[in-house]
């Protein structure tokens, strides 16, 4: 990515409050026109980073560039960014129209043009019919739309969203995900969203940055974060994962083998893991990438039919089942006592009846499925 394409460049930015380091030497580029998510558990520094982009906090070290301009000395009211706050922060004493028009007062927009721009922004968020309402007569979802229109009407270079969906109920949240993504597509403005909800980030963002304890862990597309996590934290934070400690035994260009006491055996990779290095490693396997097969009582080892070449197979017993409708999640106890999670889509209406408590099973996954991780 060249400099020209980055609307936001964060260079070696740290933020310290006394002895606490909220953001620790983060370097990041956000391309123009992208829906970008800052993702991480609470206290990871993502909100601090967002507030530094808006100008409410100043970096202790490092620099932030927005559209190529150093923001070090620029206060929030002079930055080409606007924010949708977590509480929406809609002004309670103004009507919807007045709320949206408020920011235009400072942009030298002619009075005659104001009306049209406000109404167009309200139409973008489907609120043009409620322009004369007061915020206390509106639902949370509608107030959020006011906050969106109020920020977008200023035509910012970047729109910042602080936990935009956290205050909405589940159904509305799902609908808003699509709507926000569509809105971003329509207006073409770069969106930067902060969220602790990985589903939200994966569903909406084109690219995500995962943060933990002030540090940037990985920046990637949602599918790369999920399928190619850079480390144990990312693998664990994004989705569910079975993690096993192990040591790298064979490290060839076309395959690798990890010995894991926790799993009670060796894990085969059908690809090279070169550059992984290090003695102690972690192997991560996603629950949906594991197949469940019926096993004869006490049968071990697996027949060649159960374990075709290039596959890993291990034995276990079904202990817990969470039936979630579209899928079921099985908690399987391995022979050495370790518990493993397997999810299985209920493709037909009777699939959930295939396995029940205390069933003896083979767990099988392809050599392509596990990922080798550093802690």
């Amino acid at each position: 990515m060249s400099d020209r394409d980055a609307i936001i460049r964060v260079e070696e930015v740290s933020k310290r409050y006394g002895k606490v380091t909220a953001v620790d030497r983060v370097t990041l580029e956000i391309p123009r026109g992208e829906f970008f998510a800052l993702l991480g558990p609470s206290g990871c520094g993502k909100t601090t980073l967002l507030r530094m982009l808006a100008g409410f906090e100043m970096p202790s070290e490092g620099k932030i560039f927005i559209d190529g301009i150093d923001m070090s000395t620029i206060p929030p009211n002079k930055r080409p960014v606007n924010m949708v706050f977590q509480s929406y922060a809609v002004f309670p004493h103004m009507t919807v129209f007045e709320n949206v028009a408020y920011g235009l007062k400072f942009d030298n927009v002619a009075k005659a043009d104001q009306y049209g721009r406000v109404m167009a922004a309200l139409a973008d968020v489907k609120l043009d019919h409620l322009a004369e309402r007061k915020p206390d007569q509106m639902s949370g979802g509608q107030r959020q739309r006011v906050a969106l229109a109020r920020a977008l009407v200023k035509k910012p270079k970047v729109l910042l969203l602080d936990e935009p969906l956290s205050a909405l109920d589940a159904k509305l949240r799902e609908a808003m995900r699509f709507e926000l993504a569509e809105l971003q597509d329509k207006v073409g403005i770069t969106f930067v969203m902060v969220t602790h909800d990985q589903d939200e980030a994966l569903a909406m963002a084109g690219r995500c940055a995962v943060m933990d304890r002030g540090k940037l862990m990985q920046t990637a597309t949602p599918s790369n974060l999920y399928e190619f996590p850079a480390n144990k934290f990312v693998a664990d934070f994004i989705g569910s994962v079975n993690l096993f400690e192990g040591t790298l035994e064979v490290d060839e260009p076309d395959h690798a083998i990890v010995q894991s006491e926790e799993l009670g055996g060796r894990i085969f990779f059908d690809h090279g893991v070169s550059g992984a290095g290090g003695e102690k490693m972690w192997v991560g396997i996603r629950p949906e990438k594991i197949e469940l097969l019926k096993r004869e009582e006490g049968a071990a080892p697996p027949t060649p039919e159960d374990a075709p070449s290039g596959c890993n197979v291990t034995a276990g017993t079904v202990r817990q089942i969470s039936y979630l409708g579209s899928e079921s999640i099985y908690e399987i106890d391995l022979i050495n006592g370790r518990r493993m999670q397997v999810s299985r889509p209920n493709l037909s209406r009777w699939d959930q009846e295939d396995f029940t408590w205390d069933d003896q099973v083979w767990l099988r996954w392809h050599g392509d499925s596990p990922v080798l991780l550093q802690s």
Binding site: A54, F56, P75, P76, N77, K78, V81, N82, M83, F85, Q86, S87, A89, F91, P92, H93, Y102, G103, K105, F106, D107, K134, D136, A147, R150, A151, K154
Partner: protein, 276 residues
């Protein structure tokens, strides 16, 4: 023995004994005021026996130049005191809400001092203070009221500060951030977002300052120079000679003014709180 009936908290108001008690409290509180108002219409010089309805005491009170002057002085003092107290109180509340500085805790507690210090001590202190600095006693009207106004502001503005401070606690800081984010300067954000939020507190505090100033006797007594008289002081001096229904009439007017002010303020307040 009668069976015990389980009651929800609000059910207690349905007990006859409780109702009687409640009525008793109201009678105790309001009978003196009712009698005062009733006898202002009594066609007799003595405040003892009802002789018939008349408005003559009201006319008489209005014809009493001194009383009229005193009433006007009181309203003028209360008005000016309210304006100054609201501005000072609001600024103080804002400073304590917004900023951190050394000795903030003691200073904030000290803000309540004028409220807890006995009025008589405050009055003496004010008297001594003005005497000590040699505050001119012979200013032309209405500037000869300055001492009383200053004294009233000193004890009234902490009330405003406390009310506004409490109101600011419910302010969502993201509102101010949003104004800044949309391009407002710090001052514009204060004017457009923080002051509207403070408004109910400003009105309630202002009303408090107004009524406190209007009916203050002790401190005014010490702060007033020769030739400056306020309504409560005037009433006191009239009562010392004889309690005539004229005093009743004048007092009824004051009650009317304060009740009216309260109603207006409450209305304004409920209108603004509905918004937020």
């Amino acid at each position: 023995m009668a069976k015990k009936v389980a009651r929800a908290p609000l059910d207690y108001l349905n007990m006859p004994a409780m109702k009687a008690w409640l009525a008793g409290v109201f009678v105790f509180l309001y009978t003196p005021l009712m009698i005062l108002i009733l006898f202002s219409f009594n066609d007799s010089k003595a405040n003892v026996v009802w002789k018939g309805f008349t408005l003559k005491w009201y006319f008489k009170a209005f014809e009493n130049t001194q009383l009229r002057e005193a009433l006007f002085n009181s309203l003028l003092i209360a008005g000016v005191c309210t304006v100054i107290s609201v501005v000072l109180g609001a600024l103080m509340a804002f400073v304590f809400w917004r900023f951190k500085f050394p000795f903030k805790g003691p200073l904030e507690s000290g803000m309540n001092l004028p409220i807890v210090v006995p009025e008589i001590c405050f009055g003496v202190a004010v008297y001594l203070f003005f005497a000590r600095i040699g505050f001119p006693n012979d200013l032309p009207y209405p500037f000869n009221l300055t001492q009383i106004i200053l004294a009233h502001v000193t004890f009234a503005f902490p009330f405003v500060a406390i009310v506004v401070r409490a109101r600011l606690e419910s302010f969502n800081p993201e509102l101010e951030a949003a104004a800044l984010d949309l391009g407002a300067s710090r001052f514009q954000a204060f004017r457009d977002v923080i002051i509207p939020h403070m408004k109910p507190g400003l009105i309630a505090g202002g009303l408090l300052a107004f009524t406190l100033s209007l009916d203050d006797f002790v401190i005014t007594f010490f702060a007033s120079g020769p030739g400056t008289i306020t309504f409560p002081v005037m009433v006191y001096s009239m009562v010392r000679f004889s309690v005539t229904p004229e005093v009743n009439a004048a007092s009824t007017i004051i009650i009317l003014i304060t009740v009216l002010a309260t109603v207006l303020a409450l209305r304004a307040q409920s209108a603004t709180t509905k918004e937020s």
